[in-house]
Symmetry: C2
Subunit: 233 residues, 2 copies
Amino acid sequence: MTQLFLVSAGPGDAELITPKTIKAIEASSDLVAYGLYIELLGEICRGKTQHDLPLGEEVGRARKALDLAAQGKTTSLISSGDVGIYAMATLVFELLDNVLAGKENHPEWLNVKIEVIPGISAMQANSSAAGALLGHDFCTISLSDLLTPWETIVKRIHSAGSGDFVVSFYNPVSVKRNWQLDTARDILLEYRPTSTPVVLGRNLTRKDHRVRIMRLDELKATEVDMFTCVSVG
Amino acid sequence: MTQLFLVSAGPGDAELITPKTIKAIEASSDLVAYGLYIELLGEICRGKTQHDLPLGEEVGRARKALDLAAQGKTTSLISSGDVGIYAMATLVFELLDNVLAGKENHPEWLNVKIEVIPGISAMQANSSAAGALLGHDFCTISLSDLLTPWETIVKRIHSAGSGDFVVSFYNPVSVKRNWQLDTARDILLEYRPTSTPVVLGRNLTRKDHRVRIMRLDELKATEVDMFTCVSVG
């Protein structure tokens, strides 16, 4: 039985990478990741066979990692943040569910031993930059409607508002999705005061990090990009 | 200006403590923490002045840490998990808010430079033990009604149900609070199938860790203690 590590590279700062992540990478012969994360990890990735599939090929990365591990290669599949939060771990387990349900024919994947190594996610970097934003009940909502219908996302934003949760938005905008965040803001304004603080953290804990704090009624999708975590206090 | 580090000791496994946490403790002369966390951190706490206030004296610990830092001592205030998630960071910033609002007379606290160092929280350990429970939208709810009225908590559980969030319950039970989790289960069952998976993670990532997976309709407060994180998938 061979090993697949699902590894969390954290929000960016090398000092926020855990020893458990380092150890998994050291134990691996093969690394599967979007190239940027391998750069973040630096020296310890040297000498490993690197499989760098571009953004958008997330499922391809999950398949590749299962294939390599099934072939007997100790493999690390690397995500930024926490691999279990809007990241690669879900895709790997969904592929395994497909095999169990007979929708895919990869029995060899079921022989792979999987260890999930948690890490620090963007909302936590955002919270620590702003003080203690997640001190009370909070939720996360992804604004990407690639896999979730937009009506479901809208329902969740209403629930976040009615439940008075602190909300962190993941995938707030992309080149093609440029209006969802404005709609999310308008929904939250039905429940929250206009002065509710919003923290925009871009590339947090990295060298070029930027934190901005504004009022909820000042939030605009045009102020945000796909590297930004938006938390509404 | 002196330094106060708000430090996250993670869920228990020494390999899930970040280098940033270690560095903060090394830089400190004084540590404020519940003694168990100092034990978890081990060797690096040797030779530091340790201020071990018992459970229940959380506000006292936050005051002590601000006092020590204001006296010029580089201080680490240590929480398990993530110091920003249901932990000490909130209490520190609430005390500072009190000073700014004129409710407390400790102007010296405002001269303390504060750095919050995020870490891995219980829900993340729970999720990684179970696969990838937090892969989609999720929320956290504390069932402790010491500071939050029970009606507010009930409203949030309904919101978590209507929004179809994965829910992690923090502070699920205590000696005195032995019925809240059963009520929370009954509320969620208004929205979710009885077969919804529940992960009970006790002391996760520690030597005596225990993971149990059950159906939502099997969940009972009597199966859970205050060291357990309950996540409903």
